[in-house]
Symmetry: C2
Subunit: 258 residues, 2 copies
C-alpha cells in the first residue's frame, strides 16, 4: 500500500520551519507497512490543498496531512478538504464542548476562530489531541484513508501514535539496520551495492549515506531495509545482504582506507 | 516569480533523513525575491523525477532539485532530467578531468559509477562543488531556470550560495522580523492578525507560531514579513504591522495573561 504525506504551511516553503513532521510520519507509516511514495508541501491556500489531496489520492491509498488546523485565518485545511471532497462541514458536539471547557478553564472566550476547530467534514471521525486544542480527523472515502493532523510537531506525533494500531497493514513486518563503515567511500561501495541488490532480487533495499569520520577520513553509513511477512525473515535478509557486501568489499581491499 | 523545490530520495520519504535541504533552499530563494509555492519529495525513480520536473515547470519559473547526483545505482537525477527534457547527455571534459584527478589523489579508480558524475544534459552549465565530488547543474530551458544540486546538505548549500547573485530578482527587497509574545495565545491573536492583514492590503504576511514559555504559560512567536522594492520600505511595513497588532491587543487586555 502506498502513502502520501502532505505538509501544509507557507513557513515550510519559505524555510522558516524545517519539516520534521514529514520525516516523523514517513517513518511511522513505513514501520506500519506502507511505502511512502510522495511528499507534497504546499501553501496555506484552498486551491493548493485541493490539488495536493487530488494528487495524493491518485497515487496513494493512505494520505496524511499536517498543518492548517488551528484557530488563525490561514488555518484552512478542514474547509479546503471539505470542499474538495464535497463533504459538508458539521459541528462535532463533543469537540465543541471540549473547546468551550478548555477556553473557560483558561479564562478565555470561545470565539468564532476558536470554535472553528470543532467543525469536521461529514462522515469523518475526530482524533482527540492529547497535547493541544485542534483535534485530528480520520476519514475513509473512495477507498482511501485520509488522516488530517495539526502542524505542531508534538501534537501531530501524539495523534499519529494514537492511530498506528488502526492503520497498520496486517502481516507486514519491517526490519532496518544501519552500520557505519569507516575508511570506505560511497563510490567504492556503489558497484557492490548494485551487485548485491540485483543478486537478492530486490528483496532488500540498500542505501548508502556518505559521512565523515572524526578524523576527516571518509566513512559511509550503510542502511539495509527489508520488509517481509515475518520479522525474523526480514532480519535474515538484512543480515545476508550485509554479509555479502562485506565479502565483496574484502575482495577489493586496495580501495579500503584505514 | 514562483519557485518549486524538488527533493529526491527514498530516505526522505521513509523518514530516515529530515529534509533540511528544502528549508535551506526555500529560505535562500525567498531572500532572493522568489515565492516558493511548492515542495515535492519523490523517490529515486526516473518516472517520479520526470513527474516532479513537469509539475514544477507548470507552476514555477525556478526549479531547484536536490539529491540523486552521486555515484550509486540510485543516483539517477541527471539521466532522468535529460530524458524528461529531451536533452542528450554529454561528457563535461573539465568535470571528467577533475574527477580523475580527485580519485587519483585518493588512490582510487575512476570507475564507470564515479565518472557518471561528469555527464551533463546538453546546454547546461556545471556548478563546481567546493566540498564534494558531484557538481551541480544550471540549466535554462523553455523560459525556466533549473538548478540541480547534490543531496548532501553541505554540498547543496555551498553550490546554492555560489549562484545567489546570478538568480537574485532585481529590485526585490525582503524583510522579516520575529518577536516572542509571552502570555498571549495564538487564538487570541487570530482575529487581530486577520484584521491587520486586511487593513494593510496584503502587503505584509503575518504568521503566528504557538510556543510555550519556560514557565509553561502560553506564548506566541509572531513573524511578520514584507517584500518591497526598497529594504527600508519593507522594514517600515513590518514595523507598522507590529504596532497595529500591539495596539489592537491592548484593547483586549483581559485576554492577556502574564
Amino acid at each position: 500500500m502506498m502513502a502520501c504525506v502532505i505538509s501544509i504551511g507557507n513557513e515550510l516553503l519559505r524555510g522558516k520551519t524545517v519539516n520534521t513532521n514529514a520525516a516523523n510520519i514517513g517513518m511511522k507509516l513505513t514501520l506500519s507497512g506502507y511505502e511512502v511514495t510522495k511528499g507534497l508541501t504546499i501553501r496555506d491556500d484552498p486551491a493548493e490543498i485541493a490539488w495536493a489531496l487530488k494528487t495524493g489520492m491518485e497515487s496513494a491509498d493512505m494520505i496524511v496531512t499536517t498543518g492548517g488546523l488551528g484557530p488563525t485565518f490561514d488555518d484552512m485545511t478542514i474547509a479546503a478538504v471539505s470542499k474538495a471532497l464535497n463533504l459538508p462541514l458539521i459541528d462535532d458536539p463533543e469537540t465543541a464542548q471540549r473547546l468551550r471547557e478548555r477556553y473557560a478553564r483558561l479564562g478565555l472566550q470561545a470565539t468564532t476562530e476558536r470554535m472553528k476547530m470543532a467543525s469536521i467534514p461529514e462522515g469523518s471521525t475526530v482524533l482527540p489531541n492529547p497535547v493541544g486544542a485542534a483535534p485530528g480527523i480520520f476519514l475513509q472515502i473512495q477507498g482511501k484513508t485520509i488522516v488530517i493532523l495539526p502542524g505542531v510537531p508534538d501534537e501531530a506525533s501524539a495523534i499519529m501514535d494514537s492511530i498506528l494500531d488502526r492503520i497498520r497493514i496486517e502481516g507486514t513486518e519491517y526490519f532496518s539496520e544501519s552500520r557505519f563503515m569507516k575508511g570506505t567511500m560511497e563510490s567504492t561501495l556503489a558497484p557492490i551495492v548494485n551487485k548485491v541488490m540485483k543478486e537478492m532480487d530486490s528483496k532488500v533495499y540498500i542505501k548508502s549515506h556518505p559521512r565523515h569520520s572524526e578524523t576527516g577520513n571518509p566513512a559511509v553509513e550503510l542502511e539495509i531495509l527489508a520488509r517481509s511477512e515475518g520479522k525474523e525473515h526480514a532480519k535474515d535478509l538484512v543480515e545476508t545482504a550485509f554479509n555479502r557486501i562485506f565479502e565483496e568489499l574484502s575482495h577489493r581491499s586496495k580501495d579500503i582506507r584505514t
